[in-house]
Amino acid sequence: MAEIRLTEHPILQFKRGRKISFTFNGKKLDGHEGETVAAALHAAGVTTYRRSPQLHRPRGFFCAIGKCSSCLMTVDGVPNVRICITPLREGMKVCSPKGKGQLPEDDPATIWTWPGQYVDKILETEVAIIGAGPAGLSAAVETTRMGAETVVFDENDGIGGQLIKQTHMFFGSKEQHAKVRGIDIVPLLLEQIDDSRAQIMLEATAIGLYADKTLGVVRRQELFGLRAQKIIMASGASENMLAFEHCDLPGVYGAGAVQTLMNVYGLIPGRRVLMVGAGNIGLIVSYQLLQAGVEVVEVIEAAPYIGGYHVHAAKIRRAGVPIHTCHTITKASGQEKVEGAVVAQVDSHWQPIPNTQRELAVDVICLAVGLSPTAELLFQAGCQSCYIPELGGHVAVHDENLETTVKGIYVAGDASGIEEASTAMLEGRLAGLCAAESLGKKAISERKEEILSQLKELRTGPFGEKARKGKEMMRQEACRYGL
């Protein structure tokens, strides 16, 4: 049986940091420097972290990108730590919380060493960019090039956002990094950012945004304010959940979580996977699972058609993985973690058809059922929202320059409406350019037209139809708000 830690991979090489030890509920375990606590636990075979507060159900991670809070643990006495984005450190004590966690005991080593110092002063910058993924980094390329002082921050301990797990080659033209793998785009973006103008802050979480464009940021135990003249929200998206019996069991993972484990940390998520969703993400992650030597038992899709590119579907079909449309999952089975799944056919109203249930022996149920824009900070600041299903649900109303209804606050990438990384990078550039221009910085002429025409090009054709329609509806919403 294959090891959890991958040593060989057709595309990736895993250079693990030095071995370090930590404890999980008192038991000594080993992990590697550079891993998150969740990755190290997974590698050690720990999938169930704690019991849920009221019903005492087993809980593990779901999204693995810091959005869902399913992985909260007590770390070195601090309760409710998101261990999926917390870097592992030597000697860490990781414990299952009781209930919703306890206040730290009166131990001088924990609570009474007060964190950092409280910052009364508020830092100032011309542009603040939330998120160092494809959109955020691209925005910083433009703002710094145009001479705007820029702070980019991200709650992860590395840059790149979801690009760091995208091992497939991109489509589009040369300007859009066609034929380059997502993982290789990150250094290309970083290279183009003018260091003298930019500051990149990692492990920094924006916890609030106010209408005067002040952000509340927590960075390594310290809270500070950051007042920016322009804000660019490039906060990405969160994985959609699907409700079915025992959907909260550890082993039910978001597609992004599976990619994180496999492509960032070189860990297989399990042995036998049921993929739910045949959109591009479901198909691509299925293929990546096969590349990592994991069996994909089948791919199911509730719609009567495969949503993703047929070239991806053909690849996994050729590898012998069946794709069943008009199918859904009705149940996850298992006590402490996923041991199986029940799938069924659905009728035209998406309801399971009786007597079509089949049981599958799987240890991972991977959900690739869409994403929702992460936009709550915008709504906190008073940006108007509208509901556009084609863009992933509730999105901040924005004009063609990606400016929201609050002047000076921009949105780009998945946070502005779910698309993919190529359009996210272009939107980031557009938002960066428009934000810097409105600060009085001089834009390179024709640059904006060039970006707009590339965006249009990417949204042309059958697979850009959804985004095109969504953005068209957004234009109408923007008009309603006088943008």
Binding site: L55, K67, T205, I207, L209, G216, C247, D248, E376, P389
Partner: protein
């Protein structure tokens, strides 16, 4: 999906509880949040929000576009109280 299916994993809210609340007349995500705490937990509704809206839409016969989001407030991510409270100012003695 059964009565016991977990909809909000932060606060352990089940499908049955959500449906019961709707039957009692709580048909907005804002009311649901106050009644059942779903959306007030650590994830601030990122996991359950869409599911709750879908159940409300299905049970009240409206479309998802008619189910507004609940109000979002800081902190948007789990934050230690000690960090929010900050260090007490050094006493000058």
């Amino acid at each position: 999906m059964t009565e016991d299916t977990i909809i909000c994993r932060c606060e352990d809210v089940t499908y049955g509880q959500v449906v019961e609340a709707i039957e009692q007349g709580f048909t907005t995500t804002e009311e649901m949040k106050r009644m059942l705490r779903c959306g007030m937990g650590a994830c601030q509704g990122r996991t359950c929000g869409r599911l709750i809206a879908q159940i409300i839409a299905a049970k009240t016969g409206t479309s998802l576009s008619q189910v507004p989001l609940p109000t979002s407030r800081p902190p948007a991510a789990p934050t230690e109280l000690a960090i929010l409270a900050g260090t007490p100012h050094e006493e000058t003695s």
